[in-house]
Amino acid sequence: MIEFLGSQNFIGIIYLVASALFILALKWMNRPATARRGIFAGETGMVLAIGGTLLQLGVDGKLQHLAIDYTWVFIALGIGTAVGIPLGLVQMTAVPQRTALSHAFGAFCVTLVGTAEFYLRTPNVRPFMMSVLCCEVILGGLTVTGSLMAAGKLQEVLPQRPITYKGQNVVNLGLLAVAIGIAGYLVHNPGATHLYPVMVGIALLFGVMLVIPIGGADMPTVISLLNSYAGLSAAAMGFVLGNKLLIVAGALDGSSGFILSVIMSKAMNRSFTNVVFGAFGQVAPAAAGAQEARPVKSASPEEAAGILAAASKVVIVPGYGMAVAQAQHKVRELYDSLTKRGIDVQFAIHPVAGRMPGHMNVLLAEADVPYDHLKEMDDINGDFPQTDVSLIIGANDVTNPAAKTDKSSPIYGMPVLDVERSHTVMVIKRSMNPGFAGIDNPLYYMDQTLMLFGDAKAFVSNIVKELSNSHG
Protein backbone atom coordinates (compact mmCIF):
# COMPACT_ATOMS: atom_id res chain seq x y z
CA MET A 1 0.00 0.00 0.00
CA ILE A 2 2.65 2.46 1.07
CA GLU A 3 4.93 1.36 -1.74
CA PHE A 4 2.09 1.63 -4.25
CA LEU A 5 1.08 5.14 -3.37
CA GLY A 6 4.49 6.44 -2.53
CA SER A 7 5.00 7.28 1.13
CA GLN A 8 4.27 10.97 0.53
CA ASN A 9 0.86 10.23 -0.94
CA PHE A 10 0.18 7.56 1.61
CA ILE A 11 0.59 9.86 4.58
CA GLY A 12 -1.19 12.63 2.66
CA ILE A 13 -4.28 10.50 2.25
CA ILE A 14 -4.17 9.42 5.89
CA TYR A 15 -4.03 13.08 6.91
CA LEU A 16 -6.86 13.89 4.53
CA VAL A 17 -9.07 11.26 6.13
CA ALA A 18 -8.08 12.44 9.59
CA SER A 19 -9.00 16.02 8.65
CA ALA A 20 -12.42 14.90 7.45
CA LEU A 21 -12.91 12.98 10.70
CA PHE A 22 -11.94 16.03 12.76
CA ILE A 23 -14.50 18.12 10.93
CA LEU A 24 -17.17 15.49 11.46
CA ALA A 25 -16.18 15.34 15.12
CA LEU A 26 -17.04 19.00 15.55
CA LYS A 27 -20.14 18.75 13.39
CA TRP A 28 -21.47 15.93 15.53
CA MET A 29 -20.74 17.86 18.69
CA ASN A 30 -23.70 20.08 17.87
CA ARG A 31 -26.20 18.15 19.96
CA PRO A 32 -26.02 15.58 22.73
CA ALA A 33 -27.54 12.80 20.65
CA THR A 34 -24.62 12.73 18.23
CA ALA A 35 -21.84 14.16 20.39
CA ARG A 36 -20.35 10.86 21.45
CA ARG A 37 -20.12 9.80 17.83
CA GLY A 38 -18.15 13.02 17.42
CA ILE A 39 -15.62 11.93 20.01
CA PHE A 40 -15.28 8.61 18.29
CA ALA A 41 -14.62 10.32 14.96
CA GLY A 42 -12.02 12.55 16.59
CA GLU A 43 -10.29 9.62 18.24
CA THR A 44 -10.25 7.61 15.03
CA GLY A 45 -8.74 10.51 13.16
CA MET A 46 -6.12 10.94 15.85
CA VAL A 47 -5.14 7.26 15.91
CA LEU A 48 -4.98 7.17 12.11
CA ALA A 49 -2.79 10.26 11.95
CA ILE A 50 -0.38 9.12 14.67
CA GLY A 51 -0.26 5.56 13.37
CA GLY A 52 0.30 6.73 9.82
CA THR A 53 3.09 9.06 10.91
CA LEU A 54 4.86 6.32 12.83
CA LEU A 55 4.56 3.96 9.90
CA GLN A 56 5.82 6.49 7.40
CA LEU A 57 8.81 7.28 9.59
CA GLY A 58 9.85 3.66 9.46
CA VAL A 59 9.28 3.24 5.74
CA ASP A 60 10.95 6.48 4.82
CA GLY A 61 14.07 5.25 6.51
CA LYS A 62 14.75 8.73 7.76
CA LEU A 63 15.24 7.35 11.22
CA GLN A 64 18.95 7.36 11.66
CA HIS A 65 18.89 5.15 14.67
CA LEU A 66 15.66 3.45 13.89
CA ALA A 67 15.22 1.34 17.00
CA ILE A 68 16.40 3.97 19.45
CA ASP A 69 14.26 6.69 17.97
CA TYR A 70 11.16 4.54 17.87
CA THR A 71 11.80 3.62 21.49
CA TRP A 72 12.04 7.24 22.45
CA VAL A 73 8.87 8.16 20.59
CA PHE A 74 7.01 5.41 22.41
CA ILE A 75 8.48 6.42 25.75
CA ALA A 76 7.32 9.98 25.11
CA LEU A 77 3.88 8.80 24.09
CA GLY A 78 3.77 6.73 27.26
CA ILE A 79 4.79 9.60 29.53
CA GLY A 80 2.30 11.84 27.80
CA THR A 81 -0.45 9.33 28.39
CA ALA A 82 0.54 9.01 32.03
CA VAL A 83 0.33 12.77 32.43
CA GLY A 84 -2.86 13.00 30.39
CA ILE A 85 -4.94 10.48 32.32
CA PRO A 86 -5.06 12.39 35.60
CA LEU A 87 -5.72 15.56 33.59
CA GLY A 88 -8.69 13.80 32.09
CA LEU A 89 -10.02 12.74 35.47
CA VAL A 90 -10.19 16.07 37.28
CA GLN A 91 -13.34 17.22 39.04
CA MET A 92 -15.89 18.97 36.86
CA THR A 93 -15.45 22.13 38.94
CA ALA A 94 -11.77 22.20 37.99
CA VAL A 95 -12.50 22.17 34.29
CA PRO A 96 -11.66 25.85 33.71
CA GLN A 97 -8.13 25.55 35.08
CA ARG A 98 -7.66 22.19 33.37
CA THR A 99 -8.60 23.80 30.08
CA ALA A 100 -6.14 26.60 30.65
CA LEU A 101 -3.41 24.11 31.50
CA SER A 102 -4.01 22.12 28.36
CA HIS A 103 -3.74 25.26 26.26
CA ALA A 104 -0.35 25.76 27.84
CA PHE A 105 0.66 22.22 26.95
CA GLY A 106 -0.57 22.51 23.38
CA ALA A 107 1.22 25.80 22.85
CA PHE A 108 4.33 24.38 24.53
CA CYS A 109 4.47 21.58 21.96
CA VAL A 110 4.07 24.04 19.09
CA THR A 111 6.72 26.39 20.46
CA LEU A 112 9.22 23.58 20.95
CA VAL A 113 8.74 22.24 17.45
CA GLY A 114 9.01 25.75 16.04
CA THR A 115 12.23 26.34 17.96
CA ALA A 116 13.72 23.08 16.77
CA GLU A 117 12.79 23.91 13.19
CA PHE A 118 14.38 27.34 13.54
CA TYR A 119 17.73 25.96 14.65
CA LEU A 120 17.65 23.18 12.06
CA ARG A 121 16.88 25.47 9.16
CA THR A 122 18.65 28.69 9.97
CA PRO A 123 20.13 30.47 8.10
CA ASN A 124 18.47 28.97 5.03
CA VAL A 125 14.96 30.20 5.70
CA ARG A 126 12.92 32.01 3.11
CA PRO A 127 11.29 35.23 4.29
CA PHE A 128 7.75 33.88 4.18
CA MET A 129 8.69 30.75 6.07
CA MET A 130 10.53 32.77 8.70
CA SER A 131 7.60 35.07 9.24
CA VAL A 132 5.26 32.14 9.71
CA LEU A 133 7.76 30.51 12.05
CA CYS A 134 8.03 33.65 14.15
CA CYS A 135 4.27 33.92 14.20
CA GLU A 136 4.15 30.34 15.44
CA VAL A 137 6.57 30.78 18.31
CA ILE A 138 5.38 34.22 19.40
CA LEU A 139 1.75 33.10 19.53
CA GLY A 140 2.81 29.80 21.05
CA GLY A 141 5.05 31.41 23.64
CA LEU A 142 2.56 33.94 24.88
CA THR A 143 -0.09 31.26 25.04
CA VAL A 144 2.12 29.05 27.20
CA THR A 145 2.72 31.61 29.94
CA GLY A 146 -0.65 33.32 29.57
CA SER A 147 -2.43 30.03 30.04
CA LEU A 148 -0.26 29.02 32.96
CA MET A 149 -1.04 32.34 34.66
CA ALA A 150 -4.73 31.85 33.96
CA ALA A 151 -4.66 28.32 35.34
CA GLY A 152 -2.79 29.55 38.42
CA LYS A 153 -5.30 32.28 39.09
CA LEU A 154 -8.25 29.95 38.64
CA GLN A 155 -6.69 27.29 40.88
CA GLU A 156 -6.01 30.11 43.36
CA VAL A 157 -2.32 29.32 43.41
CA LEU A 158 -1.80 32.88 42.21
CA PRO A 159 -3.68 35.88 43.59
CA GLN A 160 -7.02 36.24 41.86
CA ARG A 161 -7.24 39.97 42.04
CA PRO A 162 -6.14 41.98 39.00
CA ILE A 163 -2.75 43.68 39.34
CA THR A 164 -2.72 46.99 37.53
CA TYR A 165 -0.33 49.90 37.31
CA LYS A 166 -0.10 53.09 35.31
CA GLY A 167 1.02 52.70 31.71
CA GLN A 168 0.37 49.00 31.74
CA ASN A 169 -1.04 49.00 28.24
CA VAL A 170 1.93 50.91 26.93
CA VAL A 171 4.35 48.43 28.50
CA ASN A 172 2.45 45.44 27.13
CA LEU A 173 2.09 46.79 23.64
CA GLY A 174 5.73 47.82 23.79
CA LEU A 175 6.80 44.26 24.58
CA LEU A 176 4.73 42.89 21.75
CA ALA A 177 6.16 45.49 19.39
CA VAL A 178 9.71 44.50 20.32
CA ALA A 179 8.98 40.83 19.70
CA ILE A 180 7.46 41.62 16.32
CA GLY A 181 10.40 43.91 15.56
CA ILE A 182 12.86 41.09 16.22
CA ALA A 183 10.76 38.80 14.08
CA GLY A 184 10.95 41.34 11.28
CA TYR A 185 14.73 41.48 11.65
CA LEU A 186 14.99 37.69 11.58
CA VAL A 187 12.92 37.54 8.42
CA HIS A 188 15.60 39.55 6.64
CA ASN A 189 18.55 38.14 8.59
CA PRO A 190 17.68 34.53 9.20
CA GLY A 191 21.20 33.90 10.50
CA ALA A 192 20.83 36.12 13.58
CA THR A 193 20.35 33.14 15.84
CA HIS A 194 21.32 35.06 18.99
CA LEU A 195 18.14 37.13 18.65
CA TYR A 196 15.86 34.13 18.55
CA PRO A 197 15.91 33.33 22.30
CA VAL A 198 15.31 37.01 23.03
CA MET A 199 12.22 36.97 20.87
CA VAL A 200 10.84 33.84 22.50
CA GLY A 201 11.66 35.22 25.93
CA ILE A 202 9.76 38.40 25.24
CA ALA A 203 6.78 36.40 23.98
CA LEU A 204 6.81 34.40 27.21
CA LEU A 205 7.04 37.58 29.28
CA PHE A 206 4.25 39.15 27.27
CA GLY A 207 1.97 36.23 28.10
CA VAL A 208 2.53 36.85 31.81
CA MET A 209 2.00 40.59 31.54
CA LEU A 210 -1.13 40.10 29.48
CA VAL A 211 -2.89 38.10 32.17
CA ILE A 212 -1.62 39.98 35.24
CA PRO A 213 -4.22 42.75 35.02
CA ILE A 214 -7.11 40.36 34.58
CA GLY A 215 -9.29 39.33 37.49
CA GLY A 216 -10.13 35.68 38.14
CA ALA A 217 -13.67 36.12 36.98
CA ASP A 218 -12.70 37.48 33.58
CA MET A 219 -10.53 34.46 33.01
CA PRO A 220 -12.98 32.43 30.86
CA THR A 221 -12.93 35.00 28.09
CA VAL A 222 -9.15 35.08 28.24
CA ILE A 223 -9.01 31.31 28.14
CA SER A 224 -11.16 31.19 25.03
CA LEU A 225 -8.98 33.77 23.42
CA LEU A 226 -5.85 31.82 24.31
CA ASN A 227 -7.58 28.81 22.82
CA SER A 228 -7.88 30.73 19.61
CA TYR A 229 -4.20 31.75 19.75
CA ALA A 230 -3.17 28.15 20.38
CA GLY A 231 -5.13 27.12 17.30
CA LEU A 232 -3.54 29.80 15.18
CA SER A 233 -0.05 28.85 16.28
CA ALA A 234 -0.76 25.22 15.40
CA ALA A 235 -1.98 26.34 11.98
CA ALA A 236 1.23 28.35 11.56
CA MET A 237 3.18 25.22 12.43
CA GLY A 238 1.20 23.47 9.69
CA PHE A 239 2.47 26.07 7.23
CA VAL A 240 6.05 25.63 8.41
CA LEU A 241 5.92 21.84 8.11
CA GLY A 242 3.71 21.88 5.01
CA ASN A 243 1.24 19.75 6.96
CA LYS A 244 -2.37 20.35 5.87
CA LEU A 245 -3.88 18.32 8.70
CA LEU A 246 -2.32 20.71 11.20
CA ILE A 247 -3.63 23.68 9.26
CA VAL A 248 -7.14 22.23 9.35
CA ALA A 249 -7.03 21.38 13.04
CA GLY A 250 -5.52 24.74 13.89
CA ALA A 251 -8.11 26.64 11.88
CA LEU A 252 -10.92 24.72 13.56
CA ASP A 253 -9.50 25.33 17.00
CA GLY A 254 -8.81 28.96 16.21
CA SER A 255 -12.35 29.64 15.06
CA SER A 256 -13.81 27.72 17.97
CA GLY A 257 -11.95 29.80 20.55
CA PHE A 258 -12.80 32.97 18.69
CA ILE A 259 -16.51 32.20 18.46
CA LEU A 260 -16.77 31.24 22.11
CA SER A 261 -15.14 34.48 23.17
CA VAL A 262 -17.50 36.43 20.94
CA ILE A 263 -20.50 34.63 22.44
CA MET A 264 -19.24 35.30 25.95
CA SER A 265 -18.50 38.93 25.35
CA LYS A 266 -21.91 39.43 23.79
CA ALA A 267 -23.70 37.71 26.66
CA MET A 268 -21.64 39.74 29.13
CA ASN A 269 -22.36 42.93 27.25
CA ARG A 270 -18.69 43.67 26.67
CA SER A 271 -17.62 45.32 23.46
CA PHE A 272 -15.93 42.85 21.23
CA THR A 273 -12.83 44.94 20.59
CA ASN A 274 -12.30 44.76 24.33
CA VAL A 275 -11.93 41.02 23.92
CA VAL A 276 -9.86 40.95 20.75
CA PHE A 277 -7.28 43.30 22.11
CA GLY A 278 -7.16 41.52 25.41
CA ALA A 279 -7.82 44.81 27.18
CA PHE A 280 -9.93 43.40 29.98
CA GLY A 281 -10.44 46.35 32.25
CA GLN A 282 -12.32 45.53 35.40
CA VAL A 283 -15.90 46.65 35.54
CA ALA A 284 -16.11 49.89 37.48
CA PRO A 285 -17.76 49.22 40.87
CA ALA A 286 -20.91 51.14 40.08
CA ALA A 287 -21.96 53.52 42.82
CA ALA A 288 -21.48 50.77 45.35
CA GLY A 289 -20.78 53.34 48.03
CA ALA A 290 -24.11 55.08 48.19
CA GLN A 291 -25.93 51.93 49.13
CA GLU A 292 -28.76 52.57 51.56
CA ALA A 293 -29.90 49.52 53.45
CA ARG A 294 -33.22 48.79 51.80
CA PRO A 295 -35.56 46.23 53.33
CA VAL A 296 -35.75 42.73 51.91
CA LYS A 297 -37.97 39.83 52.89
CA SER A 298 -36.27 36.63 53.84
CA ALA A 299 -37.58 33.15 54.46
CA SER A 300 -36.56 29.89 56.13
CA PRO A 301 -36.11 26.50 54.47
CA GLU A 302 -39.47 25.39 55.86
CA GLU A 303 -41.27 28.35 54.35
CA ALA A 304 -39.47 27.89 51.05
CA ALA A 305 -40.38 24.21 50.99
CA GLY A 306 -44.01 25.08 51.62
CA ILE A 307 -44.11 27.57 48.79
CA LEU A 308 -42.45 25.12 46.41
CA ALA A 309 -44.79 22.31 47.37
CA ALA A 310 -47.78 24.49 46.59
CA ALA A 311 -46.52 25.42 43.13
CA SER A 312 -47.38 23.68 39.92
CA LYS A 313 -44.61 25.15 37.75
CA VAL A 314 -41.12 25.86 39.09
CA VAL A 315 -38.13 27.24 37.20
CA ILE A 316 -34.71 26.80 38.80
CA VAL A 317 -32.05 29.35 37.83
CA PRO A 318 -28.58 28.09 38.70
CA GLY A 319 -25.56 30.37 38.80
CA TYR A 320 -21.96 30.61 39.85
CA GLY A 321 -22.89 30.15 43.50
CA MET A 322 -24.23 26.68 42.81
CA ALA A 323 -20.91 25.73 41.25
CA VAL A 324 -18.90 27.16 44.14
CA ALA A 325 -21.06 25.39 46.72
CA GLN A 326 -20.96 22.14 44.70
CA ALA A 327 -24.71 22.07 45.19
CA GLN A 328 -25.65 20.35 41.92
CA HIS A 329 -26.35 16.97 43.48
CA LYS A 330 -28.61 18.49 46.10
CA VAL A 331 -30.35 20.45 43.37
CA ARG A 332 -30.94 17.20 41.58
CA GLU A 333 -32.55 15.80 44.75
CA LEU A 334 -34.76 18.86 44.93
CA TYR A 335 -35.70 18.38 41.28
CA ASP A 336 -36.58 14.74 41.98
CA SER A 337 -38.68 15.44 45.01
CA LEU A 338 -40.60 18.23 43.29
CA THR A 339 -41.12 16.18 40.14
CA LYS A 340 -42.40 13.30 42.24
CA ARG A 341 -45.09 15.61 43.55
CA GLY A 342 -46.21 16.25 39.99
CA ILE A 343 -44.66 19.69 39.82
CA ASP A 344 -43.27 20.77 36.44
CA VAL A 345 -39.62 21.72 37.02
CA GLN A 346 -37.41 23.34 34.39
CA PHE A 347 -33.92 24.83 34.54
CA ALA A 348 -33.21 28.22 32.99
CA ILE A 349 -29.63 28.35 31.75
CA HIS A 350 -28.22 31.77 30.96
CA PRO A 351 -25.39 31.65 28.41
CA VAL A 352 -22.87 33.11 30.86
CA ALA A 353 -24.18 31.71 34.10
CA GLY A 354 -21.20 30.42 36.02
CA ARG A 355 -17.67 31.09 34.91
CA MET A 356 -17.31 29.14 31.69
CA PRO A 357 -19.47 28.63 28.58
CA GLY A 358 -21.78 25.73 29.28
CA HIS A 359 -20.67 25.57 32.92
CA MET A 360 -24.13 24.97 34.42
CA ASN A 361 -24.99 22.33 31.83
CA VAL A 362 -22.01 20.14 32.66
CA LEU A 363 -22.56 20.43 36.39
CA LEU A 364 -26.25 19.58 36.17
CA ALA A 365 -25.59 16.82 33.68
CA GLU A 366 -23.02 15.46 36.13
CA ALA A 367 -25.80 15.32 38.71
CA ASP A 368 -27.96 13.41 36.21
CA VAL A 369 -30.46 16.15 35.48
CA PRO A 370 -31.90 15.21 32.06
CA TYR A 371 -30.62 17.72 29.52
CA ASP A 372 -33.99 18.26 27.90
CA HIS A 373 -35.00 20.09 31.06
CA LEU A 374 -32.11 22.54 30.68
CA LYS A 375 -33.63 25.41 28.71
CA GLU A 376 -31.69 28.14 26.97
CA MET A 377 -32.55 31.71 27.87
CA ASP A 378 -34.48 32.49 24.71
CA ASP A 379 -36.56 29.36 25.00
CA ILE A 380 -37.66 29.90 28.56
CA ASN A 381 -37.98 33.66 28.90
CA GLY A 382 -41.52 33.52 27.56
CA ASP A 383 -42.53 31.03 30.27
CA PHE A 384 -41.85 33.13 33.34
CA PRO A 385 -45.29 34.83 33.47
CA GLN A 386 -46.84 31.35 33.82
CA THR A 387 -44.28 30.30 36.42
CA ASP A 388 -45.34 30.02 40.06
CA VAL A 389 -41.88 30.01 41.61
CA SER A 390 -38.50 30.97 40.20
CA LEU A 391 -35.84 29.50 42.47
CA ILE A 392 -32.53 31.24 41.95
CA ILE A 393 -29.59 29.25 43.28
CA GLY A 394 -26.38 31.25 43.51
CA ALA A 395 -27.10 33.33 40.44
CA ASN A 396 -27.12 37.08 40.50
CA ASP A 397 -26.10 39.15 37.47
CA VAL A 398 -27.92 36.94 35.00
CA THR A 399 -31.21 37.77 36.75
CA ASN A 400 -30.64 41.48 37.23
CA PRO A 401 -33.62 43.38 35.81
CA ALA A 402 -31.57 46.61 35.83
CA ALA A 403 -29.99 45.31 32.63
CA LYS A 404 -33.33 45.95 30.94
CA THR A 405 -34.36 49.19 32.60
CA ASP A 406 -31.48 51.15 34.06
CA LYS A 407 -29.50 52.85 31.32
CA SER A 408 -26.82 53.86 33.79
CA SER A 409 -26.14 50.29 34.87
CA PRO A 410 -22.86 48.84 33.64
CA ILE A 411 -24.72 45.75 32.47
CA TYR A 412 -27.44 47.73 30.68
CA GLY A 413 -28.32 45.91 27.46
CA MET A 414 -27.04 42.51 28.56
CA PRO A 415 -29.74 39.93 27.89
CA VAL A 416 -31.04 38.50 31.21
CA LEU A 417 -33.58 35.97 32.47
CA ASP A 418 -37.00 37.56 33.08
CA VAL A 419 -37.44 35.96 36.52
CA GLU A 420 -39.22 39.01 37.94
CA ARG A 421 -42.23 38.13 35.79
CA SER A 422 -42.91 34.98 37.76
CA HIS A 423 -45.37 34.87 40.61
CA THR A 424 -42.82 34.34 43.37
CA VAL A 425 -39.04 34.68 43.23
CA MET A 426 -36.80 32.97 45.79
CA VAL A 427 -33.08 33.68 45.85
CA ILE A 428 -30.56 31.44 47.60
CA LYS A 429 -27.33 33.30 48.38
CA ARG A 430 -25.22 33.86 51.45
CA SER A 431 -25.49 37.63 51.80
CA MET A 432 -26.53 40.80 50.03
CA ASN A 433 -23.11 40.93 48.36
CA PRO A 434 -23.08 41.58 44.64
CA GLY A 435 -22.05 39.02 42.02
CA PHE A 436 -19.39 39.11 39.37
CA ALA A 437 -20.34 42.49 37.94
CA GLY A 438 -20.12 44.06 41.37
CA ILE A 439 -23.49 45.75 41.20
CA ASP A 440 -26.66 45.75 43.22
CA ASN A 441 -29.65 43.70 42.08
CA PRO A 442 -33.06 45.50 42.31
CA LEU A 443 -34.74 42.11 42.04
CA TYR A 444 -34.02 41.49 45.72
CA TYR A 445 -36.18 44.41 46.84
CA MET A 446 -39.23 43.52 44.82
CA ASP A 447 -42.51 42.53 46.42
CA GLN A 448 -42.63 39.01 45.11
CA THR A 449 -39.04 38.24 46.12
CA LEU A 450 -37.94 36.19 49.12
CA MET A 451 -34.26 35.96 50.06
CA LEU A 452 -33.10 32.57 51.29
CA PHE A 453 -29.81 33.36 53.01
CA GLY A 454 -27.30 30.55 53.31
CA ASP A 455 -24.87 28.35 51.47
CA ALA A 456 -26.49 26.92 48.37
CA LYS A 457 -25.72 23.30 49.18
CA ALA A 458 -26.83 23.50 52.79
CA PHE A 459 -29.97 25.48 52.02
CA VAL A 460 -31.13 23.26 49.19
CA SER A 461 -30.52 20.19 51.27
CA ASN A 462 -32.63 21.69 54.07
CA ILE A 463 -35.46 22.34 51.63
CA VAL A 464 -35.24 18.76 50.40
CA LYS A 465 -35.39 17.51 53.99
CA GLU A 466 -38.45 19.63 54.70
CA LEU A 467 -40.15 18.39 51.58
CA SER A 468 -39.59 14.76 52.41
CA ASN A 469 -40.73 15.28 56.00
CA SER A 470 -43.92 16.99 55.01
CA HIS A 471 -44.48 14.27 52.47
CA GLY A 472 -43.86 11.27 54.70
Binding site: F22, I23, L26, N30, R31, P32, A35, G38, G42, E43, I50, T53, Q64, H65, D69, V73, G80, G84, P86, L87, G88, L89, M92, R98, T99, H103, F105, G106, C109, L112, V113, A116, E117, Y119, L120, F128, S224, N227, A230, A234, M237, F239, N243, L245, L246, I247, A249, A251, L252, D253, G254, I259, L260, I263, G358, V362, E366, P370, Y371, H373
Partner: protein, 98 residues
Amino acid sequence: MGSSLIDGLFVFMLAGFIGFEVIKRISPLLHTPLMSITNALDAIAVVGAIVLVGRHESRLSFILGILAVIAATSNIVGGFLITDRMLKMFKSSRPAKP
Protein backbone atom coordinates in the same frame (compact mmCIF):
# COMPACT_ATOMS: atom_id res chain seq x y z
CA MET B 1 7.52 27.50 -1.27
CA GLY B 2 5.36 29.46 -3.69
CA SER B 3 2.49 27.19 -4.53
CA SER B 4 2.62 25.33 -1.22
CA LEU B 5 2.02 28.65 0.54
CA ILE B 6 -1.06 29.29 -1.58
CA ASP B 7 -2.28 25.75 -1.10
CA GLY B 8 -1.86 26.18 2.62
CA LEU B 9 -3.83 29.40 2.54
CA PHE B 10 -6.60 27.72 0.60
CA VAL B 11 -6.83 24.96 3.19
CA PHE B 12 -6.70 27.49 6.03
CA MET B 13 -9.43 29.65 4.52
CA LEU B 14 -11.72 26.72 3.84
CA ALA B 15 -11.16 25.08 7.21
CA GLY B 16 -11.63 28.39 8.98
CA PHE B 17 -14.93 28.88 7.21
CA ILE B 18 -16.01 25.39 8.20
CA GLY B 19 -14.98 26.09 11.76
CA PHE B 20 -17.17 29.18 11.90
CA GLU B 21 -20.17 27.54 10.29
CA VAL B 22 -19.99 24.37 12.33
CA ILE B 23 -19.14 25.83 15.69
CA LYS B 24 -21.69 28.60 15.73
CA ARG B 25 -24.34 25.89 15.40
CA ILE B 26 -23.19 23.93 18.44
CA SER B 27 -25.74 23.98 21.22
CA PRO B 28 -24.63 26.09 24.23
CA LEU B 29 -25.45 23.00 26.24
CA LEU B 30 -22.22 21.50 24.95
CA HIS B 31 -19.86 24.46 24.99
CA THR B 32 -17.73 23.05 27.79
CA PRO B 33 -17.16 19.67 26.09
CA LEU B 34 -16.56 21.59 22.87
CA MET B 35 -13.68 23.43 24.52
CA SER B 36 -12.12 20.19 25.67
CA ILE B 37 -12.49 18.33 22.39
CA THR B 38 -11.01 21.13 20.28
CA ASN B 39 -8.14 21.01 22.71
CA ALA B 40 -7.59 17.34 22.05
CA LEU B 41 -7.86 17.80 18.29
CA ASP B 42 -5.43 20.69 18.32
CA ALA B 43 -2.87 18.38 19.90
CA ILE B 44 -2.54 16.75 16.49
CA ALA B 45 0.61 18.88 16.50
CA VAL B 46 2.04 15.69 17.96
CA VAL B 47 2.64 14.38 14.44
CA GLY B 48 5.02 17.25 13.79
CA ALA B 49 6.83 16.44 17.00
CA ILE B 50 7.05 12.74 16.16
CA VAL B 51 8.60 13.51 12.80
CA LEU B 52 11.08 15.79 14.56
CA VAL B 53 12.18 13.01 16.89
CA GLY B 54 12.29 10.56 14.02
CA ARG B 55 14.42 12.79 11.83
CA HIS B 56 16.89 13.08 14.73
CA GLU B 57 18.81 15.80 12.95
CA SER B 58 20.39 17.33 16.00
CA ARG B 59 20.51 16.59 19.69
CA LEU B 60 18.55 19.77 20.41
CA SER B 61 15.78 19.01 17.96
CA PHE B 62 15.59 15.47 19.28
CA ILE B 63 15.14 16.57 22.88
CA LEU B 64 12.71 19.34 22.04
CA GLY B 65 10.78 16.85 19.95
CA ILE B 66 10.51 14.39 22.83
CA LEU B 67 9.23 17.08 25.18
CA ALA B 68 6.77 18.20 22.53
CA VAL B 69 5.48 14.66 22.05
CA ILE B 70 4.91 14.36 25.81
CA ALA B 71 3.06 17.67 26.04
CA ALA B 72 0.83 16.97 23.05
CA THR B 73 0.08 13.38 24.02
CA SER B 74 -1.06 14.41 27.45
CA ASN B 75 -3.50 16.82 25.78
CA ILE B 76 -4.80 14.16 23.45
CA VAL B 77 -5.37 11.62 26.18
CA GLY B 78 -6.65 14.07 28.75
CA GLY B 79 -8.80 15.96 26.27
CA PHE B 80 -10.63 12.98 24.86
CA LEU B 81 -10.98 11.42 28.30
CA ILE B 82 -12.61 14.42 29.92
CA THR B 83 -14.82 15.13 26.91
CA ASP B 84 -16.02 11.57 27.02
CA ARG B 85 -16.67 11.79 30.74
CA MET B 86 -18.66 14.98 30.29
CA LEU B 87 -20.75 13.67 27.44
CA LYS B 88 -21.55 10.48 29.31
CA MET B 89 -23.19 12.69 31.92
CA PHE B 90 -25.61 14.25 29.44
CA LYS B 91 -28.78 12.20 29.57
CA SER B 92 -32.15 12.87 28.06
CA SER B 93 -35.20 12.18 30.17
CA ARG B 94 -37.04 10.62 27.27
CA PRO B 95 -35.64 7.09 27.18
CA ALA B 96 -36.10 6.95 30.95
CA LYS B 97 -39.85 7.36 30.61
CA PRO B 98 -41.61 4.10 29.92
